[in-house]
């Protein structure tokens, strides 16, 4: 760039470039960066694409509620005290509110009321009640991105990018420039990616309908379509945006965005949060042979 600016062959372009450079320099020099705004950045390359490898984590509190929310007590404060409480947070939804159809808003409220309820005794109603997170199910997209756990992007030179999430040891494979349609619905959806400049754009379709967006009961149908955009804005930050479309549930597509932060600890690595053992008693405890000492019988012989 420097040599082009110094060239006498295209003086008009050079002056324009200098003016642009001057504007950028004066806009950023000597200032602390404004939250959410970054000077223009070109990510390091890997096999000619921006290198997104790393362990990343969101620090929004959207897993409790993607919309504005006060700090809140947990569902059983008499048992859990402040342990179960949730932090306050600002909406990650553009415009603040999810554009629900009226029936769907009512359903969301019902989901929230019944978020701690579980009934697995009837296969057909297995997924009707309760937050899937509580049952240790794969969290779907975009929820996996803002769970309070890190995830790792594994990007190499093949046609695949792997994202491994610590929560429930969930993984998803992003197939780059892929034409083939999904063979079946899945919890993490069918992810097909492409590069748009420095942005990794991932088109995610063919979801199971049972995942939720948060503990507040925000939900979708099997018509969910998510388009994610991962844009590196510094060596340590990715701007994450997702457009969420579901004509069965929402009146229009809506968008969320928040930054992802690179985990910088020495030797950072994903650990295991294999949560199945943490939810089994809730799911299957009623089917034990004997009620345990001190507990009332609750249909152990159903």
């Amino acid at each position: 760039m420097r040599s082009r600016i110094g060239s006498a062959l295209i003086p008009v372009g050079s002056i324009a470039a200098l003016v642009v450079l001057w504007l950028v320099v004066t806009a950023t020099a000597g200032q602390a960066p404004t939250a959410g705004r970054f000077p223009s950045y070109r990510a390091p390359r890997l096999a000619s694409h921006p290198d997104l490898n790393g362990v990343w984590q969101a620090f929004v509190t959207a897993n409790w509620d993607v919309q504005d929310h006060d700090a809140q007590p947990g569902p059983h404060p008499e048992l859990m005290g402040a342990y179960g409480a949730g932090p306050a947070g600002q909406s990650i939804v553009e415009g603040g509110e999810i554009p629900y159809q009226p029936w769907a808003l009512a359903k969301k409220k019902e989901n929230f009321e019944k978020r701690m309820m579980v009934d697995v005794t009837d296969d057909k109603k297995w997924h009707d009640l309760g937050d899937p997170e509580m049952k240790c199910y794969m969290p779907g997209v975009p929820r996996a991105t803002y769970m309070p756990f890190p995830f790792q992007i594994v990007q190499g030179s093949s046609d695949y990018i792997l994202i491994a999430y610590e929560f429930a040891s969930t993984t998803r494979i992003i197939r780059m420039n892929w034409k083939i349609e999904a063979p079946a619905d899945s919890w993490m959806g069918w992810s097909r990616g492409r590069w748009e400049g420095d942005t990794l754009v991932v088109d995610v379709t063919d979801f199971r309908e049972q995942t939720w967006f948060d503990r507040a009961g925000d939900f979708h149908s099997d018509a969910l379509h998510v388009v994610e955009r991962y844009t590196p804005v510094s060596l340590y930050h990715i701007k994450y945006e997702a457009t969420i479309e579901d004509p069965k549930v929402f009146t229009r597509p809506w968008k969320i965005s928040f930054p992802l932060y690179r985990r910088m600890e020495d030797h950072i690595q994903l650990l295991e949060f294999k949560c199945v053992p943490f939810t089994e008693e809730l799911l299957y405890g009623r089917l034990r042979k004997q009620p345990r000492a001190g507990e009332p019988s609750s249909g152990g012989s159903r």
Binding site: I173, E272, E280, L287, S301, R302
Partner: protein
């Protein structure tokens, strides 16, 4: 589903070990490794293992008794061996009662067709060391471990009788906690695919079974602190020429969490991944544990590249584990009807 599948597969494997046509002795032949083929490299210079690979084979881990000490078979013998193993692994036979027949028919749905062929090198066992192809004898177990194994055997007997007391008596695979995604990787009835991803400083293996990924750092970092334990352990890798060498420690101590219930305090596993041609990785693992086996032992399983059009898909296990509820509901109903667990004849 899982109970029926496991019990009938177990029976099939047991059958595979006892019924085998005797074959004439042959001079042992070491598996040949191609030498002319040049390993491709990633842009950052590591040997390239990326792709989707399948490790299914009917060749048993340990050499079946009937083959005597012959490690490698002729073409004709191999065809017999393969036919016999396939016969014992599939349901396409009518030598059991109606219930056995139904179980086998059910399992047909799950059977990976690749699971019905022996390794191309016509070996009679996946174990290559010791040379007899068998798991070395066990050392005497401590009283605590003996007790734990006995308790597990009792739980397994209740499970087999359809009378498990509770979900904790079901095996880790039935509970969808770990299946064949924990090292060492051994072929099983289905989901024998592994996708290998590479990035600078890492090799990552995503087994199709459940949906975990083993992200293996290659930067020489130390293992996790010894009190931090994981279901899949903690893996560290390095390149030895074209071979990826992976050492894994920090396994959890739960019964059933570690391979053949070796002692987590002393168990060591080393895996070696070598791409020997465009279509094949040789996957070799060595396990040792002076508290379990009298000496270390090694197995080699060829991984075959599968057509890129044949993709690996999400395998949700726990999310729709209706079976665990059916098993427990069934057990409570059987109890009410007064059914009891048949007395178990103690092994040995």
């Amino acid at each position: 589903m899982s109970r029926r599948f496991e019990s009938s597969v177990g029976a099939a494997l047991a059958a595979a070990i006892v019924s085998f046509p005797a074959l004439a002795g042959q001079a042992p032949k070491a598996p040949a490794i191609a030498t002319t083929w040049a390993v491709p490299h990633t842009p950052w210079g590591d040997p390239d293992l990326q792709g989707v690979w399948n490790d299914a084979t009917s060749t048993p881990l340990a050499r079946p008794g009937g083959v005597s000490d012959k490690p490698v078979l002729t073409d004709e013998e191999a065809a017999d061996f393969q036919r016999e193993l396939a016969y014992n692994l599939t349901r396409d036979r009518r030598d059991g009662g109606p219930q056995v027949d139904v179980n086998r028919a059910y399992n047909e749905h799950w059977m990976d067709a690749r699971r019905l062929t022996i390794t191309k090198d016509h070996r009679t066992s996946l174990i290559i060391d010791p040379p007899d192809g068998k798991i070395p004898p066990l050392v005497p177990l401590s009283p605590e471990r003996q007790q734990a194994r006995a308790a597990q055997a009792d739980a397994a007997a209740r499970f087999a009788a359809g009378l498990p007391d509770n979900h904790l008596e079901l095996s880790l695979p039935v509970r969808c906690i770990i299946r064949t995604d924990s090292p060492p990787y051994l072929p099983t009835i289905y989901n024998n695919d592994f996708q290998i991803f590479q990035s600078p400083g890492y090799v990552t293996i995503a087994p199709e079974m459940i949906h975990s990924a083993r992200i293996i750092p290659l930067d020489g970092r130390p293992h996790l602190g010894s009190t931090l334990r994981q279901w899949l352990g903690d893996s560290r890798g390095h390149w030895q020429g074209n071979t990826l060498v992976v050492e894994t420690s920090n396994f959890r101590t739960d019964q059933g969490a570690i391979f053949q219930d070796a002692d987590p305090a002393t168990f060591r596993i080393t895996e070696r991944f070598t791409r020997v041609d465009a279509q094949t990785i040789h996957y070799e693992f060595t396990v040792e544990d002076p508290h379990t086996w009298t000496k270390p032992w090694t197995a080699m399983i060829p991984w075959t590249r599968i057509d890129p059009a044949e993709q690996m898909y999400e395998y949700a296990c726990h999310e729709d584990n209706y079976d665990i509820v059916h098993l427990l509901q069934g057990a409570r109903i059987r109890e009410k009807k007064g059914e009891t667990v048949p007395k178990r004849i103690p092994a040995r």
